[in-house]
């Protein structure tokens, strides 16, 4: 049982996780964007499906 969890504020556990996740995602999105740019370069003229612009 993780009793320690009861004595910390609800956010702090998740803060550290989010720091790590944000790090991983930053790298991931960097390569994703790079890939999208490469793809866009080779498919010039073809319109990429518009990113979700609802909000």
């Amino acid at each position: 049982m993780k009793f320690l969890l009861l004595y910390i504020d609800p956010g702090s556990g998740s803060y550290l996780v989010q720091m790590i996740i944000a790090g991983v995602l930053a790298g991931l999105f960097y390569f994703k964007n790079l890939w999208l740019r490469v793809k866009a370069f080779f498919s010039k003229g073809k319109k990429d499906d518009a990113a979700e612009s609802e909000d």
Partner: protein, 463 residues
């Protein structure tokens, strides 16, 4: 002289957040905003966030009432939100209802960030279903966004939404009963043990479940300085990652559930359904007022007939796949007046939470002016062995005025299937016993045999 105490009822579920509370006065639900929340409330209203959320129908609209009903020294504002016809809980939602509620929460969060605010909690109890769609109801969940900090409600969001959805997605099993026990969501450490090994190979699962479980397990209060360099871009990445983790999750409807092919497979299907519809339409033609509850709604064929004239139809069934199918149907269709939920009438949602009062039982919430119970009684009496008299009592507790109920006799093909391997059901089970037992609670107004079957449709009035 003692001042007469105002009889405004503080809602028993509304105590956690010191920003304000919900109370009932003169038959309506109001929300008090406390002074401590005044800055955040003013920002919500002035930043354009409230307007955008209302325009997109994502938040329940409210009007301000300039009256301190509770004579409270903390009073800042009183809000009168648009009143909801029915309150449901996450453990009564089907897969896609929970999924849409999760995506709504993330969408609200994203819009909030755009306006310089953030959600301070991420519980699924912030969502209700209204006019066929989920809507955010907790007007006091927004606070000023500090872009150096991560999302305080991230863990709660995962536990209340993402993890239960993972369970349903990976195991194709119902998660409602589990959620009715884990009111604050299912912890990462528990989910990590429940998910199949193959889930580990998915990056999003690894990040949100396994990483979180392992960080939580050797938890120390986090060094504030270490988390001080979070940013808006990082938060938006996190939201996008959660969105793309949730969007592809699904439950296959190809699995043969209890009912999902009920009408399709029965020999009588088309003729039976047409005949029943004709009698049913005749029986309900003059009852269009108030709330109607279709218990054992199956795929909602008859709920939709009720919704033609009434936009306050609650459709419940214990088969979560039927409920899910009906929800998706309503979502993509024209009928908006039906709210479908997963309820097992022989084991309905209990009163749970703090002091047994935080979340009401189904019976406390479900009273309806008209109740319809088609092709249901044989399941309760023959499969679940509930005596006829008890079924009548239960239905009368749910009903305010009318009950439209179908009696399925023992000779019926479906009844025969149910008793194929059992003899110890409550006897007598025949129209006479049915009428006698129900007459203690109802007066039979109309009665008609459904042509080419032995089934009988009754319309009754509560005594």
């Amino acid at each position: 002289m003692i001042k007469e105490k105002t009889a405004y009822q503080h809602h028993p579920a509304s105590f956690k957040d010191p920003s304000g509370f919900v109370f009932k006065a003169n038959g309506k639900y109001y929300r008090q905003v406390n002074k401590s929340y005044s800055e955040d409330y003013d920002l919500l209203m002035s930043s354009g966030l409230y307007k955008e959320l209302i325009d997109k129908k994502l938040l329940i609209p409210h009007t301000e009432v300039n009256e301190n009903f509770n004579d409270s020294p903390d009073w800042y504002k009183t809000l009168l939100p648009e009143q909801l016809p029915f309150i449901s809980y996450p453990y009564e939602w089907s897969f896609d209802e929970l999924k849409d509620a999760a995506l709504l929460t993330l969408r609200v969060l994203k819009i909030s960030v755009k306006h310089g605010m953030i959600l301070k909690d991420g519980t699924s109890f912030n969502i209700q279903f209204y006019e066929g769609k989920p809507v955010f109801i907790d007007t006091l969940s927004f606070e000023k966004y500090d872009d150096s900090k991560p999302w305080i409600a991230y863990r709660q969001f995962c536990e209340c939404f993402l993890f239960p959805l993972y369970i349903e997605h990976y195991h194709k099993m119902d998660v409602q009963k589990l959620l009715s026990v884990y009111l604050e969501g299912i912890p990462a450490s528990t989910i990590a043990k429940l998910l199949p090994a193959r889930a580990r190979f998915k990056l999003s699962v690894w990040l949100h479940v396994y990483l979180q479980a392992s960080v939580n397990s050797n938890n120390k209060p986090t060094n504030k300085a270490a988390t001080a360099n979070f940013s808006k871009a990082k938060l938006l990445n996190l939201i996008e990652s959660l969105q793309s983790a949730i969007k592809p999750l699904h439950v296959k409807t190809t699995i043969q559930s209890t009912w999902n092919n009920y009408y399709g497979e029965t020999i009588l299907s088309k003729n039976y359904l047409d005949a029943k519809e004709k009698v049913f339409r005749d029986f309900v033609s003059d009852i269009n007022d108030g709330r109607t509850m279709d218990v054992g709604c199956n795929d909602g064929y008859f709920s939709k007939i009720l919704a033609e004239k009434n936009n306050n139809v609650i459709a419940v069934d214990f088969d979560t796949q039927c409920v899910n199918k009906l929800y998706l149907d309503i979502k993509s269709g024209e009928t908006k007046g039906i709210l479908p939920f997963c309820i097992d009438l022989t084991n309905p949602s209990p009163a749970v939470g703090f002091n047994h009062a935080e979340r009401q039982s189904f019976a406390e919430r479900a009273k309806a002016d008209t109740v319809t119970a088609l092709a249901l009684i044989h399941h309760i009496v023959l499969s679940k062995n509930v005596p006829l008299h008890d079924v009548a009592k239960m239905l009368s507790d749910l009903t305010r005025q009318h009950l439209v109920i179908e009696f399925v006799p023992i000779t019926d093909e479906k009844s025969q299937q149910l008793i194929a391997n059992k003899t110890n059901y409550h006897k007598p089970y025949d129209p006479e016993a049915f009428e006698n037992n129900f007459s203690d609670f109802f007066e039979i107004e109309k009665k008609q045999i459904i042509p080419s079957t032995d089934r009988i449709l009754y319309r009754m009035k509560k005594r």
